[in-house]
Amino acid sequence: MQALNRHIHPGWLIIAPLMLMVVALYLGPILNILWLSVTDPEPGFSNYAKLTEGDALIRIVWTTVRICIITTLFSVIFGYSIAYAMVHCHQRQKTYMLTLLLVSFWISILVRTFAWLMLLGRKGLVNVTLEDIGLIAEPVAFMRNELGVLIGMVHYMIPYAVLPLLVSMQSIDQRVMDASRNLGASGSQTFWRVYLPMTMPGLVASTLLVFILSLGFYVTPAVLGGGKVLMVAEYISVQLLVTLKWGTAAMLAAIMLIGVLVMLWIMSRFMKLSTVFGGAAR
């Protein structure tokens, strides 16, 4: 025991059972997916070879990545503005805003999706109003296309984008901004040179969160895309539940997983990820 303690901190022994469970619960399924992707329906890389046969799968992956990037971009920009407003407004308004934000987490995604249709659909409030006042002759196609998917997804993702940014902005010492102004920097200089860099960990966390959550999006693209916007998550689910091509599903899941890991790895080259996940920014 003594000899062991010298090499392994005893704390590890206490949490070892927990660690094993975490490994089993998380790593197990992941390994299972990787395994399935090279064994179902027969051993080999035939599932991965499908990526090169025809452009359909590549197109689905590309659609997914494109939509996720655009969604992330807009969600984070809006999220940043909202978080900024929340941090810099009066306490009472802040409470209101936070409540609204949290309430939106509770509204089912399906309800929101149909709410968008009611608002922006062909016979939606916006189109009807615009037609009534004579601004447009034909309804604008906001919904049932990629634009609709983006609107729905961005709306859904904004609260997720706000939270990490809020935490990051709240931890900033107002005096640092004062110092910048005192040293002669204009508002925009202070923002770009001090505020933005100091909120960068929150920005990165928010971007990662939104992007990864977007990858799993399903209902919104299916409904608001009018069936024409097919994303990987939906396709995987079809392969699992309907066409029983579990190997294809596993292959796509593995690709997404690897894609996310590669993304994290690239980002870790530019910044310490620990700061993103709450470590000290040193």
């Binding site: 010492d173 005096r175 640092v176 004062d178 110092a179 910048s180 102004r181 005192n182 040293l183 002669g184 920097a185 204009s186 200089q189 040179r193 001090v194 860099p197 100091m198 960068m200 000290a280 920014a281 040193r282």
Partner: protein
């Protein structure tokens, strides 16, 4: 860089600051001379930071006016005032190196890179941080961070430098050391320093003039010596150093403990008061003696240790003597 014709004298005219009903700063008038080291001294909550923030332009003035060299700056935004500032807690930019922190004011003014480099080197030399230029603030000690903040604030040669309790976070020993450095830097750059502290020793040792503040208002202004020797009221007398208060004929006098002489026995004809020693505390360079007078007052006396070191003891009857000039009459009411 700052306008060389600016000299850095400030006129504060009837300035008040209200937070709702609460007057954090109440009708302050003050002339600050070019190049002086002026200290705002007062207990916590007395409005020092608020006044400083109004001077810096971060807080609007509720009433009154602040002028630089006679020209009002009340409407000039903070970033246009060209006042250097060392913040409570330093407020360094954590994501920038020491060099970038110090050069920030010049770089936002879009000065050429080599000018910035030279000036930053000069500043780092002034605060003796040359070898730390490429570190981030998080990798420096408290005293070093304080010096970075100072160099950053001085880099663009501001006519006025505002310092808000810059030594508050340092330990006692370091504080004394940095006080001297600060004083030295003040002498070398010649900028007007407005220095906020609640530490009376700091104020006494560094300042050209001290402004004593209480509840948002000025109690007294003067050189350290004037304030110490001639406090005008009980607040100043007790806030700056120790003081005995003697009530005679309806008047109140302040009497510093070290200005009192103490003789054993009760035979001295010039004795102002008589009493018995209650307590002796040894402080190394001096000893503090508390005397219960026959009038029922309690008087503190500071005696150099080398004088009558051994013949004093608790319970001993003593005479208390002082010169007329030692007792300062105070305003009452």
């Amino acid at each position: 860089m700052a306008d060389p014709t600016q000299t850095g004298s400030l006129q504060i005219r009837n300035v008040s600051k209200f937070f709702g009903q609460f007057r954090a700063v109440n009708d302050i008038c003050l002339d600050i001379r070019n190049g002086e080291f002026l200290t705002l001294l007062g207990p916590s909550g007395s409005g020092k930071t608020t006044l400083l923030m109004m001077i810096a332009g971060f807080l609007d003035i509720s009433k009154g006016e602040i002028a630089l060299d006679g020209a009002s700056i009340s409407d000039v935004p903070a970033e246009k005032r060209n006042f250097g500032m060392v913040f409570q807690g330093y407020a360094l930019f954590p994501h920038m190196t020491v060099r970038d922190n110090v050069g920030y004011a010049l770089s936002v003014r879009k000065r050429p890179a080599d000018e910035i480099r030279n000036r930053v080197d000069e500043m780092l030399e002034l605060v003796q941080l040359q070898e730390f230029a490429d570190r981030k603030p998080g990798q420096l000690s408290g005293g070093q961070q304080q010096r970075v903040a100072l160099a950053r604030a001085l880099c663009f040669a501001p006519p006025v430098l505002l310092l808000d309790e810059p030594l508050g976070a340092l330990d006692k020993k370091l504080r004394v050391e940095v006080q001297e450095q600060l004083k030295d830097i003040h002498r070398r750059v010649g900028t007007t320093f407005i220095y906020v502290t609640h530490d009376q020793e700091e104020a006494l040792s560094m300042s050209d003039r001290i402004v004593i503040m209480r509840d948002g208002a000025i109690e007294q202004v003067g050189t350290p010596k004037e304030l110490y020797e001639r406090p005008i009221n009980q607040f100043t007398a007790s806030f700056l150093g120790k003081s005995n208060f003697i009530h005679q004929n309806g008047k109140v006098f302040a009497l510093r403990p070290e200005k009192i002489d103490l003789m054993p026995g009760n035979e001295n004809a010039e004795a102002r008061m008589r009493g018995a020693i209650r307590n002796i505390t040894y402080f190394g360079s001096m000893q503090r003696i508390i005397v219960d007078t026959d009038e029922g007052a309690e008087i503190e006396v500071d005696i150099d240790v080398w004088r009558n070191a051994s013949d004093l003891a608790e319970g001993l009857r003593v005479d208390l003597l002082w010169k007329d000039s030692a007792a300062v009459e105070l305003q009452t009411g």
